[in-house]
């Protein structure tokens, strides 16, 4: 099981899904209309490390976070 968390202003509860890589996650999230904008402007972290490619296998217990545009300070 993979946990997917939506951070900051993304108003969506975490998902628990059975996937084995990030490309599967992209397909699943692209089918959710209210996620369209967030998918285009958010970064993705696997186990709290930001990734810049979808070429990544996932293992049971991994945590994925979606990080929309930031503005600290």
């Amino acid at each position: 099981m993979i946990r997917v968390e939506f951070l900051g202003p993304i108003q969506k509860n975490a998902l628990e899904i059975e996937i084995t890589n990030l490309k599967e996650l992209a397909k699943i999230l692209q089918e959710i209309p209210e996620m369209t904008e967030w998918l285009e402007n958010s970064a993705v972290a696997v186990n709290d490390t930001i990734v810049i490619s979808l070429d990544m296998e996932l293992k049971n217990g991994d945590k994925i976070s979606m990080l929309p545009p930031v503005c600290g300070g």
């Binding site: 900051g8 202003p9 692209q30 998918l39 402007n41 993705v44 930031v70 300070g73």
Partner: protein
Amino acid sequence: MLNIYDGALDVPKILKDWYKEESTSNYGAYIPFVGTVRDENGIDGLSFDIYEPILENWFNVWQAKAKAKGAIIKMAHARGDVLLHESSYISCVFSPKRRVALEFIDEFVEDFKASAPIWKYDLINGKRVYALDRSTAIKGSGILGVK
């Protein structure tokens, strides 16, 4: 040292504590950066969400960069609501020499704005409105949207 506080920062106390902590560390330059909420666009204040695990990772990378130059950094940020003229952010660099400190505080604050996992909301009529127009997409954003 990275500290998250609920609500506005006590700026004089934090600036004093940091100065005292390094009072015998033999740093020649101490440069804090203090960010304060401006009265603009009719807001009552700002509010912040923070995702600490990635913030700590990001901070630790910068601490290592500072160390490589003989310097150290410290940072404090508010979580939740911060009203007009209150301060939400302080960071600082201590270094033996001024040039390193002047350059480092600039690079560090700019990357903070572009990369630190903190989300800002305007407080307007008691509501939290995400400040998307002033926000920056983290490097690598958008990969899940590619079809």
